[in-house]
């Protein structure tokens, strides 16, 4: 029995890793395509049919670039930065419930690498360590633009984590559990958390933009003032790691939002499908439903990026500290009171 669990988990981990990589790869293409369409252009369409091989071409180009290293005393940290960014971006996927369960080979297989009973805390922890990847890389670059970018990234992430955590607490008050699997199970049918926590979701999505360092909060890597920010001094695949980590983060953020607020793998009529067509078909549809939601959120991220201009640093801090945190606190108090009254 122990051996089969190890095999199950190993397969799930490898598949999740591969899928995350694939999604991150094609997110880069999607970003360029969506940017082009929004700007009335066609976008990359020469490599492969409709540009489908563009991510491979991009990766090949990055590999072929010169491996440049600035004159920095922190040679180790300079390499450690992109490594950390990438690792942390991939670590979050461990607790995501990708589907309910399959019934194969005479046993139930749960589609989750690790069902932690503190899954939400784990996600928050990994997300907050994520800032170190950027900070260390920026610091070790020995470049004033990178340093400023590192400062911005750190202050931005720390500020927005508070509001994000508070909006999550309101959600956790309702779910009464920290396990992502149970949160997913509670949202069966159309019983999605978004209908109970709309303001919490709004705060969460805004903070997700800030946490993933994306427009309109991409102050850490603004091309205009900071010449790329923390990756000014990076080239070749180290740069590729940073860029790739951003898209892996994007995918993971979209996943977390779908799991926490948009019913994870649940879709209307799921119980009916499982009863009539069998548990496996019902869950395959569930995985598809989850990926549709994820793709939608990835699209929203990109849509916002190509619509809204970048915030100024003081505006960012104003929004974070003076608007989102009080709003999140209010949301928390109102949720608590309502739960108490309904008991």
């Amino acid at each position: 029995m122990d051996k089969t669990i190890i095999i199950d988990k190993a397969v799930i981990i490898i598949v999740v890793f591969a899928v995350t990589m694939l999604m991150a790869m094609y997110a880069t293409l999607a970003e360029r395509k969506i940017a082009a369409w929004i700007q009335d252009r066609l976008g990359p369409n020469r490599a492969g049919k409709g540009g489908l091989l563009q991510p491979l071409a991009d990766g090949l180009k990055l590999f072929a670039k010169e491996e440049y290293e600035p004159n920095t005393p922190n040679k180790f940290l300079f390499k450690f930065g992109p490594f950390l960014s990438m690792t942390l971006a991939l670590m979050t996927s461990a607790v995501i419930p990708w589907g309910d369960k399959f019934h194969l080979f005479g046993r139930d297989i749960i589609l989750q690498a690790a069902d932690l009973n503190v899954g939400v805390l784990y996600i928050l922890a990994v997300l907050s360590v994520g800032v170190y990847g950027i900070m260390i890389g920026a610091w070790a670059s020995n470049n004033k633009y990178s340093l400023m970018s590192g400062i911005r990234a750190a202050s931005q992430m720390i500020s927005y984590e508070i509001a994000m955590g508070l909006s999550l607490i309101a959600l956790l008050l309702m779910t009464q559990t920290l396990s992502l699997r149970e949160i997913a199970l509670q949202q069966s049918g159309m019983n999605w958390n978004i209908f109970y926590q709309p303001i919490g979701f709004l705060i969460f999505i805004i903070c997700s933009f800030a946490e993933t360092n994306r427009a309109p909060f991409d102050l850490a890597e603004c091309e205009q003032e900071l010449i790329g920010g923390f990756h000014t001094e990076y080239s070749s695949m180290k740069m590729g790691f940073y860029l790739f980590a951003e898209y892996a983060n994007l995918f993971i953020s979209a996943t977390i939002m779908s799991v926490l607020y948009f019913g994870a793998y649940n879709y209307p009529g799921m119980s009916w499908v499982i009863e009539n067509w069998g548990i496996n078909i019902g869950n395959v549809l569930g995985i598809i439903a989850l990926f549709v939601k994820i793709c939608f959120f990835i699209f929203v991220f990109m849509w916002v990026r190509w619509t809204l201009p970048r915030f100024r640093y003081d505006q960012l801090m104003n929004l974070g500290w003076k608007t989102l945190i009080p709003l999140a606190l209010l949301n928390l108090v109102v949720t608590a009171v309502v739960i108490l009254l309904l008991k």
């Binding site: 929004i38 009335d40 252009r41 066609l42 619509t307």
Partner: protein, 181 residues
């Protein structure tokens, strides 16, 4: 009426700095409107032209590379009068005249012909005045989409008779078509 009070384009807007209302200050409505604008653009017709496969249509009055014409018997029309060089505002044309000998009757239509005829493509502005000036209908600006190729040496931009004179095959083809018609 002062210029402040009317608008020539009819699109003049007065700027106001009134205090924003609460709903305007949270910007959510404005953000939503902006996102709808970008969403609309996603489905608009794209302005990009995929160049090698598609090309923009040329204007009817497009003037391309010059050609020194031949007549229906394949003889060069140019008589090296120099009017084209004189009319050229960019002074791009130079030529040297020579006298036709008895055994060159089939090559040149007039008694005098251009031994050297050069157009400096870096100077030419494709105005077409040479074409207008020519009394022998010898020089034309074609509809050819071939442009002078980029090069690193200036000498290569001075086009001589080898590049300017109409190819013989084309002259033969033209005559054939004329005879058929």
């Amino acid at each position: 009426m002062s210029s402040n009070t009317y608008s020539l384009s009819g699109r003049k807007k007065t700027v106001s700095d009134k205090k924003l209302t609460w709903s305007e200050r949270i910007y959510l409505v404005a953000i939503f409107k902006g996102m709808m604008v970008t969403l609309k653009h996603m489905f608009k017709k794209k302005v990009t032209i995929s160049y090698p496969e598609q090309t923009r249509p040329f204007s009817d009055v497009y003037r391309g590379r010059h050609m020194l014409m031949r007549d229906e018997e394949g003889r060069e029309r140019c008589t090296a009068c120099g009017l084209c060089a004189l009319s050229c505002p960019a002074e791009a044309i130079t030529m040297k005249a020579a006298e036709r000998t008895a055994d060159e009757l089939h090559l040149y239509r007039e008694e005098k012909y251009a031994e050297i005829y050069e157009i400096n493509m870096l100077r030419c502005i494709f105005c077409g005045l040479c074409e207008e000036a020519c009394p022998k209908q010898a020089i034309y600006l074609t509809k050819s989409k071939q442009i002078a190729k980029a090069d690193v040496s200036r000498e290569n931009f001075i086009f001589g008779k080898d590049k300017l004179v109409m190819p013989l095959e084309m002259a033969i083809e033209n005559t054939k078509q004329q005879n058929q018609a």
